[in-house]
Every structure is written in structure tokens, then in C-alpha cells.
Amino acid sequence: MRYMPVHQYIPNSVPQIKRQMLKDIGVKDAEELFVDVPEKIRLKKKLKLPQPTPECVVRRHIESILSKNKTCSEMLSFLGGGCWPHYVPALCDEINSRSEFLTAYTGDVYSDLGRYQALFEFQSMIGDLVAMDVVSFPTYDWATASGDAVRMAALVTGRHEILIPKTISPDCSSTMRLFCESLADIKPIQYNPENGQLDIRDLKRKISSKTAAVYIENPTYLGLIEAEGEEIGEIAHNHGALLIAGVEPLSLGLLRPPGDYGADIVCGEGQPLGIHMHFGGALLGFLACRDDERLVSAIPHRLITITPTERKGEWGFAYVLPQRTSYSARERALSFTGTSTALWAITAAVYLSLLGPHGIRELAEAIMTNAHYAMKRISEIGGIKVPVFKSPHFKEFTLNFDGTGKTVREINKALLKHKIEGGKDITKEFPELGKTALCCVTDVHTREDVGKFALALEEVVK
């Protein structure tokens, strides 16, 4: 006996309607429609799944599971490292909850004009931030965008070696390696142990006519500002290699855009642009390049161009070189694309429209000021070295606890008793740095928050 013969999401589950439809089709039983599926391989038993459950019960059940989570507003968190806490303006959630954007998929420009236009505006605003004329459809996250970027470089240059900074995030380098395993070798460049910057001498030693690209991050995974972008770009170009820059977008309110210091390809993570953290499940990779036909042809993802229509006063949009993507070229594309992160791209467009040129600069300044305040405040505590590197930082910085005799794990555990999530433990990621944590301070942290963090740290390291 079925719990309910008619399902609320299935209008034709009413038995009479089904019978009528089957009659119209010309069969007696729905099973006849599955004739192509050999009897032998059909599932004979019922799946061991829950019974159909009413919405109110499902909701109560899931909410009770979720209540076991602690959110970043229920405690004080200083975690970053690829997913960061920033204030999300209410309008961002309002627009990405609009059911038209939320439930649309792949209509064409005539049915989905608004979707095309919003994505073009996303491309445009990222273009303004990074100073690049070409920006593609968004992709999954920074790591996969960097994987796309290095593949593009290898394909365009016909070379098979990529140089990356040793300070790159492990998630990023692991993904990048997997993406270009068959196409290029990835070689790390040392960093200067004093200031954490890319070691230019090591770069000069390793770069050669085999190098397809030099990839740098700005700010780096460890939070500092890479000052020699221009020089690194010149070195790369002198060897016929490309410069790829991975960037955090809010920092570009203050930092020179990579398009201005010679980058050929830019990638990065757009989650700070009005998107909640969602346990790292709401990321937005972006990919940009110079307006060079060879580079454009190597972009894996869809690209929207603005274009006129037959009627005056209207904007139209179209896909650029659609035959280039894996949808059309299959294995010849030498890349893949698919369902990406459009809803977050639309959200980022809303966010950047709200901030505008002045807002993003002010926000970057506020974030950087808060982070520097935190570094100053924590540096007063004995035994903690902050930051590990003598360089300007943006919103993240390293804390070294070697002088306290305690591990990051021990310290973070003790901080939890103060309802504080300390920095991310990167001791295993960078053993040469000793007992080190990566901390993040942004616009969501007040002076009081930083004070609490410092006081708790002081007590914990004692």
C-alpha cells in the first residue's frame, strides 16, 4: 500500500490522468515503455530509502541535523584560505533568490535575454577589476580556473612546463596538477624566506625556452602582496612564456590590476563578491585574458559578446566561437566545460554594481586596515611571530607559534573554549614554516573582535 498515490511535485501522478495518457500512448501499463531496458538487468527489489515524507517533517529533521553546526556568527572565526567571511549585502541574496535566475538554465538569448545580459555585465565588471578585455563564463572555483589557465598557456605556447610559486595553496596546486598532468609539468619556484615573495633568482634559474607560463598569486595564499609582478612578467615574456596571475578580487580596490603589469591570463576566486561561504560549496572561479585571438580560442568556457540587433535601441548578446568549446569540438577542444556557477556570477555583478569604484576601494582599505590592526595587536603577545614574512599583507597573514612551545592544534583547541576559531593550521602544508596558522581578518571583524582574539591568544599561549 502506497503512502500517498498522488505526489505533490508530480501533476500527472493522479491515477486517472496516468491511465488516460497511457491509453493515448497506446499501452496498457507503464512498464511497456521500458521495453528497451533488458528484464535481466532491471532492479527487482525496492530501494532501501526513507518513506515519502511530508515537507514539514523533512524540514524539521534537516533543521535538527543542521543545528549541530556552529556558524561563524555564533562564534568568532578567523578562517580564510580560499573561502572568506565578508558581509553580503541583502540585495545579493534577493537577486539570486529570484526564481527566474535561480531556475533558468540554457535558454537562448530570445528567451533568456536577462541571463545573457547579467552574465555579460559580470564579465565586464571582472574585466574592469583585473584590467582585461576578455572574461569568460565563470567556472567552478579558483583552483579549476587556474587549471584552465595553465592548460591555455601550454596549448597556446606549445610548451610543456609551468612555474608556480611554492606558496600556492595545496588545493590549488593539486587541482592544477591533475588538470595538466598530460600536458605540462608543474615546477615550484622558491620563495624568499625573509619576505615570502617569489624568489626572482630561483625563477631566473628555472625559466627556459620550455616554460609555457609563470603563475603568480596576488595576494598569495599566505596573504602577502607580491610586489614584483611587473618584473616577473618581464622575465616570463623575455623567455617567450606567459604570465598568469591568480587574484583575490576585493584586493583590487587597492592593488594594481594584473592587466597593467603584463599578465596574459588572469584567474581568481569570486566568492568574496556577495556570496555566503556555504562550507566552501559556493565558489566562483573566474578567467580572463588579453583580447588576443589565440588566447580567446583556447578558453574552455563560453564567452558572451554584446552585439546589436535588427531593431535600434536594443542590446543583443551572442556566444563567441561556440564551435571551440567541448560541447561542439568534443575531444578536439582539449578542454572541457559544462554547468558552471552562473548564479554566483550574477550575484557578483550585483555586488560590484553596489560597491562601485569608490566602494571597492574603501572596502579594500577597511579590510587591509583591520588585518594590519590585528597583526599589530597580536604581535604584542610574547612567543607569537606575526606575520612570518616581512611584507605588506591584505586580509590574511601567518601566525607562528614556535616560541610558545605549543602546536597550532593545541592552541586552536584551547581557543575554541573561548568560542574562537583560530587560523587555519598550515603546519603540514608548509613544514618549513614551523607551527604556523593562516589567519584572516576582514570587514566583518570589529576592533572588539580582534581585541577578544588577542586576549584569548595571550591566555592560551601562556
Binding site: 490522468i17 507503464a30 533488458p38 526564481s99 540554457t106 579549476t144 609582478g229 594594481r256 551572442a318
Partner: protein, 525 residues
Amino acid sequence: MTDEEMTGYHAVSWKEPTIYELGRKGRRGFMVPRAEEGTRAVVGDVVSRIPKKMRRKGLPKLPELSEPEVARHFIRLSQQTFGVDSGISLIGTCTLKYNPKVNEALARSPKIADVHPSQDEGSIQGVLEIMYKFKKLLCEISGMDEFSLQPRGGAHAVFANASIIKAYHKINGELEQRNEIVTTIISHPCNAASPAVAGFKIVTLYPGEETGYPDIESLKVAVTKHTAGLMITDPYDTGVFDSNIEEYIKIVHEAGGLVAVDQANANCILGRLRIGDVGADLCHFNLHKSFSTPHGSAGPGSAPIGVKKELSKFLPVPVVEFDRGKYYLDYDRPQSIGKVGEFYGVVPNVLRAFAWIMTMGADGLKEASEVAVINNNYLIKKLLGIRGVSLPWVERHPFRLQEARFSLEKLKEEAGVGIDDVNHRIVDFGVQRVFASHEPWIIPEPFTPEPPETLSKEDLDRFAEVFRKVCHEAYTNPEMVKKAPHNCAISKVDPAASSDPKKWAMTWRAYIRKCKRQRSSKKEN
């Protein structure tokens, strides 16, 4: 239905400028929280700390608007977008089913939205529990032994599976020899593209003229000592289920290869067939298709991959595990392929799909697949009654599963109107365009409607009626169809920018630059 009823639709048409043409210099849309005074007093001018050569000169040229202007602009753009909630959407291979609102409310709860991925395990037990239980549900639905939730879309999942196939042969010392993946042309193109990115050569099989899928003999020829694996979609995008699948799997296994079945569109087999039971080694599901999570205007999607026990050691890290009353993220997997992306996958979609499976239950899943297939065959019956429409392999496969790939070859021959024209015209009646086909078009003038279980009989009747009217119009007034759309927000776009580097402009700044150049070159002339 009278013509009046058919043509009453008109899309919202705001003639909305781009956001760069809106607003005024000096307007602000967000009041930025400045660093507090005491903080600033301690830190001083932070900008001066940035080395001069790394400071931004001037401001980024973002638009300048107040919040009400931004709100209006994007609300208008949303109104000019045709979502699943807006009306009848039958874009094939996409499974555009209704996205239940309760799942949306749950996914947007601060209890998930405001959680950081690197938090202490004690503070993320709730989300880990959902991820763990969800992968167990997927194991039950697929007949696989282990799942990773990390891949963020179908093509990404196929790439992850290709990487696992690679890792498997590498450990066995056979990767150099086994450098080929066999697929079929009627499989989703990512089954060719993604393994190519992983470094494999691709061998593509074509369907037999009578059967609609490759015959066993052609597979036997394609499978050699070089075969690393078979990566195919089943059921195919033609809506035909390849009933040789079990035999294929045997052949590939005997030759030492692995089999990955793309189950992105599993809507028609839920509770009816488990590809793991049939012998597949790997598979993936698209949560944004069969499992009802919203498509988000083209993502975020989510595409968990399932594998048999012997392959689970290769899955991306971390895997969610449960031991002694605690859920945890297991990174200690030395043979893992590593990361396919950051963190753990599209967790809010996992949550939505978890809620959906709970709501549906085993009975509901089977009901969904049954009604989706009834809907499809009902629509086939209706569409085949329209002059100009045909269904390749109809004699061999009169009944299809989740969708069907039709042809308008006859309409094109007789009236000169093809699928692109028809698609531009049907949207005039307030239904979404239909998917044609991935390329290459092995079926001439193809179209692939997919009516999931959440559409009503009335929806299908209306869609068929619109299609009938447009095909009739193609014979009687072809210009009307060719000049379409007429009732949409815009008229026909100029396609020149699609392929002309001098004209394409993927950003407003590029448009301004190219526009100026055109204007100045016109002046010079």
C-alpha cells in the same frame, strides 16, 4: 486552442540598457563599513604600505549607481529570463524539473550558508552528517560502493572519473599501454572531452542505422589492449537505452578496461536500474538534473561520482567518514587522485538533493521516473502527428525513456524551415526553446525535448499545440517563422560579433575601445 489564446503572450521587454549606461557619477549603492577610528589611529595610512609599483592608479571603472537603481536593473533582467518557474521548459538532456522551495529555504539557512569549510570538526557535525548520509543514499540508488561529492558539474565528474581510470592503470603499470578511452557519438560530448583533458586518446563509435546504438561487433573491434576504459552515457541523449550495456561491460572488462557510465540524466531509471549492479565500475549523477536542485542560470550544479570498492582508494580527498559517533573528513588516502577542486563540492546542492530524496522516498523516486517516461511518450505521440516531424529509429524504438531526439529534416526540405528557425518562433508563444543536439548533428535538424515528471498533461498538450502551429506556419507562412522572434524582448541579433575578433566584445571596456576605433576609422574614411 484558438489563435487568440496561442498568441496572447509577449515577453517582458524593458529595453534595459547595460548597467554601464545607467547611474550617474558620484552615486553610491553601498555604505562601506570603515575601519574604526581607534583601529585607523593605530595602523595609519595602510595604502602607503603597499609598494608603489603595486598600487592601483585610479579607480576601477565600475558603474556608479544607488541601491534602488541596482535593484531595479537586476529585477528587470530577471524578468527577462525564462526559468523553470516561468513556464514550460523542455530543454532536453537538462531535466528541467521543478525545484521545491523548501529545499531552497534549507540550503539558504545560516546554519549552512555561514559555515566555513576549515572549521573544527566538532562544529560541523551537522553538515558532515548530511554529506555522509547523502553519499550512502546515492550508493543505494546506484549500486555503487562509495561516492565523492567533490565534482561541481557533469563534465567535471567525467574528468574525475577519467582521472581515476588513469590512476588505476598507472598503479597496475599499464597506463602507457592503455591510453585510449572508447565512447559513442550519442554520449554527452564531455565523455570525449574530459578524458582527452586527462590525456587519453578517444575512440568514438557511431550508432547502427537500424538499432540506434553501436553494435557489439564494432565495440569488439574498438576494444584492444590499448583500451583504458569505456565512458558512455546510458540512456543516450536520443532517449534510447542501450540494451547492450551489460555485454559492453563484459567485453571491456575482459580486455582489462574499466567502464564509467554517465548517469547525468538518470531520471528515467531511478529505482528501476542500478548501473552498479549491471557491472559498471564508475558513474556520476547530476544533482541539478535528476535530483531537482535548481540550475541557477547555468550552475552551480553538482555531480557526485560513484565507484566500486576497488576504486574507492582513488577518489578525490577528502572523503566524509563516520567512526565512533563522529563524522570526519578523511585525508589519509595516499592513492587518491588528489583534488579536482577546492574543498568538498557544492554542499548546498547536496543538502537540497538530500531533502528531495527524503521527500520523495523510494516510492516517489520510482513514481518520478515512471511519470517522466509516460510524459515523454505522450509527447512523442503528439509530436509525431505533426507534419514535418520525424523520429529516427522509431520502428526499432517506438518508446523512449526520458527524452527523444526528433528530426525536422522533412520540414527543412519541404518548407525551408529548420530547427533554429522553429526555436526562434516557439518562444513567441511563451514556451522555452527546445534543445537541438550536441554536435556533430548526426540527426539532421534535430531537436530534443525532455518533459520531466513535474510537467502536467496540460503543459504537454500546450507545448505540442505550439509546435504544431509553428510547423504549420512553416508551410503556410515561412517568413513568419524565419523572421522570428516577434513577441520576445529583442529582435534578431547580429551574429557577426560571434566570430569576428574586430567586433567581439566580451566586456564593456572592450566594446568601448572597439566602438571608438570603428568611429575614428569611419571618420578617417
